[in-house]
C-alpha cells in the first residue's frame, strides 16, 4: 500500500471520537510517523487555528502560532503517557502557547482593526455585532478569553475545559461568567 492510499484509508476512518483510532494515531505519532502527525494536524487544524487567530495580531501570526503549537505537540508527544488524554493535553499546549504569545507580543487595539475588521469588511451590516464581538474577545484577559473561546465558540463542556486548563469547574464557570459580562458590557457600549 503506498503512502497516499494509506493516508486515504486513515482519512476514511478519521474519527477522533473513536478512542481506538485516537490511541492508534497518537502512538504512531509517538513513534515519529509523519503520516499520523498529518492526520492529527488535519483533524484539529481548524479548531486550533480559530483559537490561535483570536489570540494573534494577524493571519500570518496566527499561522505562525498554529505551527508553533503543532511542533510543540509533536515534539513533546513522546512524553504523553495516556494517549486517551491526547485532546485535552494538546489543547492545554495550545492555550499555553497562545497565552504566552499574547504576553510576549501584547494586545493592540490598532492592530485588531487591520486583522479582524478585514475579515468582516464585506459582511452585511447586520453582522456588525460579530465584528464588535471579535474585537471584544480579542481584548479579554487571557484566561477569560481561553474559557470563552473554548466554551462558547468551540463548544467544549465545563468539565473538558477544567481538564484542559487544570482548573476546577467552579473556576471555569466563574471565568466564563466574567467573560460574558465583560463582552456584553463592551457590546452594549459599541452598539449604543
Amino acid at each position: 500500500m503506498d503512502g497516499r492510499s494509506e493516508m486515504n484509508k486513515d482519512r476514511a476512518h478519521m474519527n477522533f471520537s473513536n478512542k481506538e483510532f485516537l490511541i492508534d494515531v497518537v502512538r504512531r505519532c509517538q513513534d515519529g510517523d509523519t503520516k499520523a502527525m498529518e492526520i492529527v494536524y488535519r483533524g484539529y487544524k481548524s479548531s486550533l487555528f480559530n483559537l490561535a487567530r483570536r489570540f494573534s495580531r494577524d493571519s500570518s501570526s496566527a499561522e505562525d502560532l498554529l505551527q508553533e503549537i503543532f511542533i510543540k505537540v509533536f515534539t513533546k508527544i513522546r512524553k504523553l503517557r495516556s494517549p486517551e488524554d491526547f485532546k485535552s493535553w494538546m489543547y492545554r499546549i495550545a492555550i499555553n502557547t497562545c497565552i504566552s504569545f499574547t504576553r510576549k507580543k501584547g494586545v493592540s487595539k490598532e492592530v485588531f482593526l487591520d486583522h479582524m475588521a478585514q475579515a468582516y469588511e464585506h459582511e452585511d451590516d447586520s453582522l456588525l455585532v460579530r465584528k464588535y464581538l471579535e474585537r471584544a474577545v480579542y481584548h479579554l484577559p487571557p484566561k477569560q478569553k481561553s474559557v470563552f473561546l473554548l466554551h462558547d465558540v468551540q463548544g467544549f463542556t465545563h468539565a473538558e475545559i477544567a481538564g484542559i486548563m487544570k482548573l476546577s469547574e467552579g473556576t471555569i464557570k466563574s471565568q466564563l461568567f466574567k467573560a460574558r459580562m465583560k463582552l456584553r458590557k463592551y457590546l452594549g457600549e459599541q452598539t449604543s
Binding site: 509523519t34 502527525m37 499561522e63 511542533i71 509533536f74 508527544i77 460579530r130 464581538l133 461568567f177
Partner: protein
C-alpha cells in the same frame, strides 16, 4: 433573589446547568426585574453570536512547514530522547567518578592494611593458613584469566564511550592496577601473608567489576 445572584445563575442557565428550582427562582426574579431580564436577552444573544463567529482556515503552507520541521530539523526532537545512560541511578559520568573514588579508597585500604596487618592475622592455625593460601592461588588464576579476556576487548568498548568518561575509567583501572602491584609486592615478600592475598583478591574483583561496567556502558552508549 438579588440581581447579583440572578446574574450568576443566568450564565449557568444558558449552559443548561440550573436545577429546576433555581431556574424557577431566576425566572421569577427576571419577571419583576427589567435590568436582569434585558441582561438575560443580551447574554443569550451573545452566546448565539459566539457560536456563529467566522470560521477561519489556515493555508496549506502551515502543514508543509510543520512537516519539514519534523522530518529534518525536528527529527532530533521526535526521535527517542537520547537518554543519558544510567547505572543504578547514576549518570555515566557520576558512575565513573564514584568508581574513581571507590578505587582510590580501595588503594588506601590496601596500603593501610599491608602496613598494619589485619586484625585476624596470626590467629589461625598453620594448616588452615596453608589451605587458604592454596585457594587464593586458584582464585588468582581464575581472576587473571577472566580479566585478560576482558582486557582484550576493552579498547573497542572504550572507544564507544565519551572521551571524558573513557579517561575516568582509564584512571580507575590504573589505580586498581597500582593496588594489585602493591599487593603482589607484599605477597612476593611474604607469600603466607593472608591479608595481602585477601586484598589482592579484592583488587581483582574490583577490576573485574570495572571492566564489566565499561563493557556494559559502552554497549548501552553504542
Amino acid at each position: 433573589m438579588k440581581c447579583r445572584e440572578a446574574q450568576r445563575l443566568m450564565s449557568d442557565d444558558l449552559d443548561g446547568l440550573l436545577r429546576a428550582s433555581e431556574a424557577q427562582g431566576l425566572e421569577r426574579h427576571m419577571h419583576g426585574c427589567q435590568v436582569c431580564s434585558s441582561l438575560f436577552v443580551e447574554m443569550t444573544s451573545l452566546v448565539q453570536e459566539a457560536r456563529n463567529l467566522k470560521k477561519f482556515e489556515p493555508s496549506e503552507d502551515v502543514w508543509r512547514s510543520i512537516e519539514r520541521h519534523m522530518t529534518s530539523k525536528g527529527r532530533k526532537a521526535i526521535s527517542p530522547p537520547k537518554e543519558k545512560p544510567h547505572v543504578l541511578g547514576f549518570s555515566l559520568f557520576h558512575k565513573g567518578v564514584a568508581m574513581a573514588s571507590g578505587a582510590f579508597v580501595l588503594m588506601m585500604v590496601v596500603t593501610f592494611l599491608l602496613f598494619h596487618g589485619l586484625p585476624f592475622q596470626n590467629m589461625e592455625s598453620k594448616d588452615s593458613a596453608e589451605y587458604a593460601l592454596k585457594h587464593f592461588e586458584t582464585a588468582e588464576k581464575h581472576y587473571e584469566l577472566a580479566i585478560n579476556a576482558l582486557v582484550r576487548t576493552i579498547p573497542d568498548y572504550q572507544e564507544k564511550l565519551p572521551p571524558d568518561l573513557a579517561a575516568v575509567f582509564t584512571e580507575n583501572l590504573a589505580i586498581i592496577d597500582n593496588s594489585i602491584r602493591i599487593c603482589q609486592a607484599a605477597i612476593s615478600a611474604h607469600p603466607e601473608d593472608k591479608a595481602a592475598n585477601a586484598l589482592l583478591m579484592a583488587c581483582y574483583k574490583k577490576k573485574m567489576e570495572l571492566l564489566n561496567d565499561i563493557r556494559d556502558l559502552a554497549m548501552r552508549a553504542g
